[in-house]
Symmetry: C2
Subunit: 332 residues, 2 copies
């Protein structure tokens, strides 16, 4: 299919998750053996136990790639998402939220099996988020029911590293990447989480070398991938391995590597820091929005940095302000 007949800018594949945001503290993390800032996988029973021990929650649609595609749609991009929910109340919430911002989401809900995925997100007073994910129905996504039609509609395929935690989801991911590349499109990957990188390091190294055009990673993830001691060494490692590498460093800003140049992008401070949930996801949303409009890489980075700067001033990973208005105000 030629690029002129494509109806989507970006299609994403990821875990379809509803977040349960809970205000928490370091003592709770320690008591439950949770690593601050990380993502732990939990089974249904562990999820239930942690939830029972946690304070009152605020529920919102989440999922890393889903947050990115929802953000892209909010910016005005043509976005599609592929992921699996159950036909339950949380699945209906997830489906509503991503469609209501204009993204296409057509993966049929599972009619049996585990419930829709939930992620308990413990937000500490330092605005860090620590995640405990029950993957539930989202790991049931497999190549057989992957919507390759939707993949072929897009010029870029966006994948989250978390998919590697489910064997079927990983195969679905690789099948989609194959389809995208043979259609002449690009593949982008987010490494998702340093612990996730540790779990699947060999797979990711191979993938980044040969199959990924745009790589998103934060400092912890990229240094885990290349087993570097510092960020500068990681930059040297990643150069030339993919067309574009986007490396984020929280309050230190971000670095965009591509077209033979290294761009240093400052962070945007738009208000008090509330919750870092979704920062990386919204950076990717802003960056990809610029990229699919053919903007220079430096401006793509600024768009990403701005969207990340907004989402960390609120609770939860889906911006509740107009992103186009934000862009107009800060970037013209």
């Amino acid at each position: 299919m030629g690029s002129d007949t494509r109806t989507l800018d970006v299609v994403g594949i990821g875990n379809a998750i509803v977040d349960v945001l809970v205000t928490s503290d370091d003592a709770f993390l320690e008591a439950h053996g949770l690593s601050k800032g990380g993502m732990s996988l939990v089974n249904a029973e562990q999820a239930q136990q942690l939830y029972a021990a946690a304070g009152p929650g605020l529920e919102t649609s989440g999922g890393s790639a889903a947050n990115t595609l929802a953000g892209l749609a909010q910016l005005g991009g043509r976005a599609g998402f592929i992921g699996r929910v159950r036909d339950d109340q949380l699945g209906a919430i997830f489906s509503h939220d991503i469609r209501s911002v204009g993204a296409r989401f057509e993966t049929p809900a599972a009619l049996d099996g585990p419930a829709t995925a939930r992620c308990l997100i413990l937000v500490t007073p330092d605005a860090q988020r620590t995640m405990c994910t029950y993957l539930g129905a989202s790991v049931d996504l497999d190549p057989d029911d992957l919507d390759l039609y939707l993949v072929r509609q897009a010029g870029l395929l966006y994948l989250e590293g978390y998919l590697w935690d489910g064997e079927a989801a990983k195969r679905a991911f690789l099948a989609a990447a194959e389809v995208m590349r043979s259609a002449g499109g690009q593949v982008a990957l987010s490494l998702s989480d340093a612990f996730c990188v540790e779990r699947h390091r060999d797979s990711f190294l191979e993938l980044v070398d040969g199959h990924v055009d745009v790589l998103f990673a934060n400092e912890a993830e990229i240094t885990a991938l290349y087993r570097c001691n510092d960020f500068e060494a990681a930059i040297e490692q990643v150069k030339g391995r993919c067309s574009i590498a986007v490396l984020t460093r929280g309050a230190l800003g971000s670095v965009v590597i591509g077209e033979g140049r290294v761009h240093h992008i400052p962070p945007y401070v738009l208000g008090p820091l509330v919750d870092t949930t979704g920062a990386g996801d919204l950076y990717a949303a802003g960056f990809l929005w610029g990229l699919c409009r053919g903007e220079p890489l430096e401006r793509c980075g600024q768009l990403g940095s701005l969207c990340a700067g907004q989402v960390i001033t609120q609770l939860g990973p889906r911006p509740r302000v107009s992103l186009p208005d934000l862009v107009t105000k800060h970037l013209g």
Copy 2:
């Protein structure tokens, strides 16, 4: 049962509801024929249609009396809540949230029938909230399964006017009030909503005259109840009809009438106004917390005003800060 053997300060009966908060605008309200600031009842089909048309949501436990009892528990009060959810995911969220702040909630979930109640709350840029409630399982509460044991544990019974919208729930309410009064306890009523007052005016007039010790109402509700043209006339009407009347006026503060006096309580401005959802509910929480500790009425009003002042600076009706810390900071 003597007051010395009571294990609860306040028990509340109300609709057990999960709120879906959506950022909206006046055009949406007009297009769907919704009265700004009010609460409309919708059936399952209407609820689905409105939700499909609305933007992405943020889910949180709600319900007027439930918000009040959760707030009372957060303040350190001994709180119980009676209301009916279904055994579904939203019901589990409601149950978790109210128990996790320390309130007792033991009403068994319905095993069949309608789903857990949902309220679509459209928050406009002026911070007003407009509510569309699907009562679902909450109207299945009836006298047969009312937990009168829990009612007998408390010194004060708190009821929301919204219960009048369900015939069985209304009967449950009256049965509980009878039990409470014969046990020597007090009965408090919130009028809930001006439209609700219009629907059930005769019932409410009779109730306030003979069966209510503490009445909570906002300006629109109390003027609707007594068909007064202005607030001062309503104050004159309500004097002497119940021991204590608490009348709230938003940014104009509130008035506490009781023990032969009228106290004018200023509002607390704790930050930018974000969402008025739960303002009246949290006022009642703070007021009842003072009342059950034997505080003077003026201070009860200040406690209510402070809790209401906090909840309107955030999205949703359940405070996400420590209310005891707030009280210590502002009221010593």
